[in-house]
Amino acid sequence: MEAQSANVVETLASLSLFGDLTYPELEAVAHTFEEEAFAQGQRVLRQDVSGGSFYVILSGEARVVIDGEERAVLTRGDFFGEISVLTDTAPTADVIAATVLRCLVVPAHDLKPLMLSRPSVAYRMLQIEARRLRAANTWSG
């Protein structure tokens, strides 16, 4: 049974990506971007379809699938879609809700203004990307 949605501002406050923002700043983020909920099995991001957004998971789990093969599981606080937005190319993976999934959705054209106006969010993103890169290198090496 699905629990009621928690207050989006409170949820954002607990995620490391937004860890350095003040409460009013978090409110501005929560009021600017939409929350979306997906059914289990519903697709969030689509491989090879252009015009995608940047997503931050507020609750639930998602599977990352490339050419039908599962590559990773994402959970609360994880984000996806940024590579596609930053490089202006279609996503190279499907992201599919594994449970009822809640996300904050940042449309592509809003990501750059968000990162420039909230540099701490950009810094945290870069930090997390760096960890992902190191993990990928370690794994393949």
Partner: protein, 499 residues
Amino acid sequence: MVGVGERPFPPGDYDVVVVGSGPGGLQVAYSLARTGIRRCAVISRDDRPGGMFRRFPVYQRLISWTKPDAPVARGTREYEWYDHNSLVGDVESHQALTPLFMDRELDLPARPEMESALAEFAARGEVQVRYGCEWESTRIEGDGFVLATSDGEYRCRACVFALGMTEAWKPPIPGLDAAPHYADTRSPKLYEGKSVFIVGKRNSGFEVAQGLLPWARRLVLASPRPVDTAVLAFSPLRLRYLQPFDEHVRGGSGSHVVDASIERVERHDGGYRIRTRGTTWKGELTLEADEVIAATGFRTPLQDLPSLGVATVHDGRLPAQTPYWESVSVPGIYFAGNVTQASPGLRKHGATSSSGSVHGFRYNARLVAQRIAETMFGLRRERRPLEPAEVVGFLAGELARAPELWSQKAHLARVVAFDPAGGMRDEGIVPLAQFVDHDDGDACAVAVEYDADGAIVPALYVRHGGRLAEHVLPPHPLHAFDGDDYRRELGARLEPLLA
């Protein structure tokens, strides 16, 4: 037929129950009645169609166009694009009813004109409703639902809630409870010479501010999010809405638009003290005002549905929905009307649906009815067979003129299936996300979309051998997407399927 004085749909067992008699409820009821599902009940707490238009007289005019005269004839399918406020019928006499009642003062119908058009649609389309029957609570029993109402219990396998966003909503700001909601604001004259603080900077905030400009001594609009002038600029009443913002931008007029988080509203003898903190600037600001108005929006009156497991978004204000407007968490519960805006589709380049307005959700309602009939009752709609030679022309015509594709950009698509055994068939209008995400064999879809620069472009999606390819075609200065260049491009991309 129901006799004089008799009310239709007494409590009992039904296949589908629709709750609501606004434009969403009437459209889905009309469409369900034509699917072949035998027992559909429609109930409403109101006493006649379109109750929202009577309860909220603050909306004096709709904000979407109906052009009584247009480049195409009234009553045709193509005309629907020029008439955003009529419900859609299956025969010409049920079509284009809003312009019949318009006084043509503007190309936006007034509230009573809209109400008359809805009543006319219900009468001509023989949409029966059990009025004065209030849905009170809900439970799940077996493979269906039981709706308890003021008249008794209704059992059904599927229900469609067309409830509107009619309940005033306020965010949990300490002290804001003491202030009236936008829905309760009275004559602007009552604000004569007063200092007014408005919480909220979207349509309703600016609408009320504009109304108070000739009366109030000082106006402050505040909310955490900066004004999205692009959104306001797309409102047909933009001149009205943008006036308070314009005065703020010019400075020193007594109208101010502030980006701030409102921390507390304190009531005192002389009025209110409002404590705020900047969101796009650093620091705190405490303001005094004689009056506070919460222009903080509305919510869907979902009653006990969340306790049944119906997931919501936007602080519980809207039910979360799949691409076919079914609850993401409780199958069998569907939605119609403007709450279907909570199913934004692919959000390509950030664009969402037009499901917050009649011209968008009237098509969703038609598809919900078809979906319920096909998936829950095995009533498969007939598909028109297409000859290979006509496919390209058909798709190009849809891209140029289909009101569904133009109203619901990047959201609804025209689908043609290519079955090696059964030939080519028109699968009808389908949510684009449904087509993209479900492999039902070789097929193609066309949609009208915005590209990254905001230009209107045609898009073709081709599924062949399990792989999906997206082809976004270039824009055209007159949107003439049925021209030779487009036909050639469509033909080339579809060649593997047409071969």
